[in-house]
Point group: C2
DNA sequence: TTTATAATTGTGACCAGGTCATAAATGCGG
DNA sequence: CCGCATTTATGACCTGGTCACAATTATAAA
């Protein structure tokens, strides 16, 4: 007696295999063989045919690519490059809108990056080991396209003890694209944060 | 005649080795041996002593870590989980504030995540293959702590052809933490985007 | 049913970049 | 010169492959 497993056809298997490996690149050939109920040799053949490299190559590719992107993301703690900073007074930063920041279709920067640049500039202006965004009012004025350099300018308008009023303006080709007013608190102690009531 | 290379002392070599591998994890033992002018065995010994795994392990670690973070970043296309969506009317989403979203020290969510949740909800409300944030006015009312679930509620207030007025409110434990008003354009064609003048 | 062809599976030799244990060589202070 | 730390070498083994080739199995056509 022979039990026939319902398998994929060759084309189907290859299609599914390709998809599986793009979504989840860390399978060994052995694991794939089990999953598809074929031999390891078949999997190797399939990979060969599909031009998919071996596990280690795939891992290396992910690691390399991801490493550089994550590194650049990390450096975005202060999003953009600080050009000028007089703590408690004024600051400027610039940010190049790259592939990773745009909406796939529109090639236009996602709002959060512009916000992040403005917000981090506001925080940098506050002379404290830690600053907290209390309240913001902002206006996105126009979209920013891939490849543009956004220049952020921030100014401290007023300060009363640990409370700062900061104004930030983002410009592209000397046209304003975002403007906002921040109220920030400079804090040293965590307890302050947890209990601070902002209004 | 013997030419003595100026090498590192054992401690120094190990210190530098450790630093080198954290900044640049893709060196093989052989490359390291050349760099430090010692044998491969010595490098292996050093790694053993320092508890640094082999190249493939390191690559795997970078790839795995980076992969999941990048994936989650990607999934933030619509930040948060959609709970309800009546296109053109109202929508709700929720977002759990996790480790990756908080400021290291304050354990408080970075503003861009809240903005991203609100912004993506606003965009989801617009019945179009693509939507563009034209203008936003928003107010961050209070900080959100690690582990909290943020519930976003969005409502379309008005619509004139492709122009939408949307109001979004974010709440934690039924306290409002962010409120904003969006003006969005629903678009089908890229050319529209590039030339759209928003005011 | 037989047979031609496609698809799959297995085999053996080889590779990189290691692990681990053990042994041999070298450097250097007292 | 001894003795100990340090470095280097050696050989067996591991994983997750590569490549070339042969053997087996499935399937459809004559």
């Amino acid at each position: 007696m022979v039990i026939l497993m319902a398998r994929y056809s060759k084309e189907n298997r290859r299609k599914v295999l390709g998809e599986a490996l793009t979504n989840h690149p860390f399978f060994t050939d052995e694991e794939l063989a089990e999953r598809f109920k074929v031999s390891v040799s078949t999997i190797r053949l399939d990979r060969g045919e599909l031009g998919i490299p071996e596990l280690r190559e795939r891992t290396r590719a992910v690691a390399q690519g991801a490493y550089s992107t994550l590194k650049s993301l990390n450096e975005q703690e202060v999003t953009g490059r600080l050009l000028e900073l007089v703590i408690g007074e004024r600051a400027r930063s610039e940010l190049l809108i790259d592939e990773s920041m745009v909406l796939a279709k529109a090639r236009v920067a996602r709002g959060q990056y512009l916000f992040a640049q403005a917000n981090s500039l506001a925080i940098a202006l506050v002379d404290a080991p830690m600053a907290l965004t209390g309240s913001v009012e902002l206006k996105f004025i126009r979209p920013v396209q891939l490849g543009k350099v956004v220049v952020a300018e921030g100014n401290v308008l007023k300060r009363i003890r640990s409370k700062y009023w900061v104004e930030v303006s983002l410009n592209v080709d000397s046209q304003e694209v975002l403007r906002g007013n921040w109220i920030l608190f400079s804090i040293g102690d965590l307890e302050d944060v947890r209990e601070t009531e902002m209004e």
